[in-house]
């Protein structure tokens, strides 16, 4: 039996041993923009998934790519959102450290996009990922995870702490953390109100 998940931007068909991720047409955006975004994201997602694995991050093996469709290995594990704890969060931190060391910004670091299997955290959904060496991009990246924890778990404080323990393996850890704190202050009304004048 094929399980179909309608995600935010793609239809994901879960087969026994493989998964198809098809970026479906979004009627709300004009065709030019829609085609452009779907193709760009499909190609880039497949490439980054492969590249991340080369750098020691657990990701599904890519089996085929065509137009707006990726076929990949199925990771038959437990959704991180359901089994989140300090140890899991620390492992996620280690994985993100590896991604960032490889210059990869995930772009959607939420527990929905991580699966635990055989004690390893698999990262999926690189649909919004990109290469960026800047500290800023990484600060935003972990900020997404921080916001997701806050929104999802009552014990987000200790989960965040554990994440940072794992993430501290990243060489530019302290720079990113510093930037993260800035980002936390920014994007808030105080700063934005200046833009109104």
């Amino acid at each position: 039996m094929v399980k179909v998940i309608m995600g935010g931007e793609a239809e994901v068909r879960i087969h026994d041993s493989f998964v198809e991720k098809i970026r479906i047409r979004k009627r709300y955006r004009i065709k030019e923009l829609d085609d452009f975004l779907r193709r760009r994201r499909t190609i880039s997602e497949a490439r980054i998934i492969s590249n991340a694995r080369k750098h020691g991050v657990a990701t599904p093996v890519i089996l085929d790519v065509d137009d707006c469709r990726i076929v990949m290995e199925r990771i038959d594990g437990e959704p991180v959102r359901e089994i989140m704890n300090r140890d899991v969060s620390r492992e996620i931190g280690k994985g993100v450290a590896k991604l960032h060391s490889a210059g990869i910004v995930h772009g959607d670091l939420t527990p929905m996009n991580m699966i635990l299997k055989n004690g390893r955290i698999y990262f999926i959904d690189f649909g919004l990922s990109y290469y960026d060496e800047r500290v800023e991009a990484k600060g935003v990246d972990i900020h997404v995870f921080y916001e997701a924890l806050k929104a999802d778990f009552d014990n987000w404080g200790e989960l965040w702490e554990a994440f940072l323990e794992g993430y501290s393996e990243y060489g530019k850890f302290s720079h990113v953390l510093e930037r993260f704190r800035e980002i936390e202050m920014r994007g808030r009304y105080v700063d934005k109100s200046e833009n109104r004048s």
Partner: protein, 322 residues
């Protein structure tokens, strides 16, 4: 129960009166900048000049003795503007000897939207000049799931409008231009996780103007790109949270193309789309009055000593007992 609400966070000084069932009165006076964007002090000056007149119009329709509570926008917003509203509210509360209630402006947008449309537990897209946020209820609070990393969508459109010398407010003018767009020109599409950014589009649009592209095509591409970013994040929040309602609020919500796009997105995912009447989308006193009324019903009131304005008041800070 009858609540009076005062809104003065930015461009509008507005007073509304609501009961549990309906909006009884709504009067306001908008500040129009002579040039450029909103100048907080000029806007505050405007608000203090019109406050008396606006209240007088309200009291032609409502007997002051009927009012049970005086609510005001406590933030977020521009400090000088907020202080005018807060001062008027404190004075009125003392004079009528009724409780004072400080209301979060963003929360008020969401609550009046829910009230007037019947949406129960929506993902809300709140789009105005200074704010662009995707908000949803999580437990006892509202949370912001995505927001702009730089300027609000309204300000982004206004900046572009001023660059091509359109009269204030720029939004409706740009919308009209965009309707006559024929060709899509690629623009920076920036979504990072659940957050988005508009400053790149503004800069790019200005550059295209200088290069002599058709202004209608630029306006069209600007809207298509910026709105697609907003709809995408809204949809992702709905998918993530498993919510099947979407609510649009804030001044930019009046844009028909944005409404159409959200409507299509909802249709395609079997969700329901809600938008309150235009009058209650932008900043208005009725939304403050209504939210104040909800708060009062749940025993919340603001002591005079706690009624200082909060220019950077976040919706997450408010505990929601309803």
């Amino acid at each position: 129960m009858i609540s009076l609400g005062i809104e003065s966070t930015a461009w509008n000084f507005s007073v509304g009166v609501v009961s549990e069932d309906e909006v009884i009165a709504l009067e306001g006076d908008a500040y129009i900048p002579r040039e450029g964007g909103i100048h907080p002090r000029e806007a505050a000056q405007h608000h203090s000049e019109v406050a008396g007149k606006v209240l007088a119009r309200i009291f032609e329709k409502v007997n002051p003795g009927e009012i049970d509570a005086v609510s005001f926008s406590q933030g977020p917003g521009m400090g000088p503007c907020l202080r005018i509203g807060a001062t008027v509210a404190r004075t009125l509360a003392l004079k009528l000897d009724k409780p004072l209630i400080g209301v979060n402006h963003c929360l008020a947008h969401v609550e009046i939207g829910r009230w007037l449309t019947g949406a129960e537990d929506p993902v809300t897209l709140y789009v105005s000049g200074g704010n662009s946020q995707v908000i949803a209820r999580r437990g006892g609070r509202y949370r912001v799931f995505g927001e702009t990393l730089d300027i609000g969508i309204g300000n982004a459109i206004d900046k572009f409008a001023r660059y091509i010398s359109l009269p204030h407010p720029g939004g409706p003018e740009v919308e009209r231009l965009a309707e006559r767009g024929e060709r899509y020109i690629e623009m920076p599409y920036v979504v990072k996780g659940m957050d988005f950014s508009f400053s790149g589009i503004v800069t790019h649009a200005m550059k295209l103007c200088d290069e002599g592209y058709r202004i209608e095509d630029i306006a069209f591409s600007f809207q298509e790109t910026a709105f697609a970013m907003l709809v995408e994040v809204t949809e992702r929040a709905m998918a993530y949270l498993g919510k099947e309602e979407c609510l649009l609020v804030g001044g930019v919500g009046a844009n028909s193309r944005l409404q159409e796009m959200l409507g299509l997105m909802c249709t395609d995912r079997n969700a329901e789309f809600f938008a309150p009447p235009k009058r209650y989308m932008g900043d208005n006193g009725a939304m403050i009055a209504y939210t104040g009324l909800l708060m009062m019903k749940h025993g919340i009131r603001t002591e005079l000593s706690e009624s200082y304005v909060k220019p950077d008041f976040r919706i997450e800070e408010v505990e929601i007992p309803w």
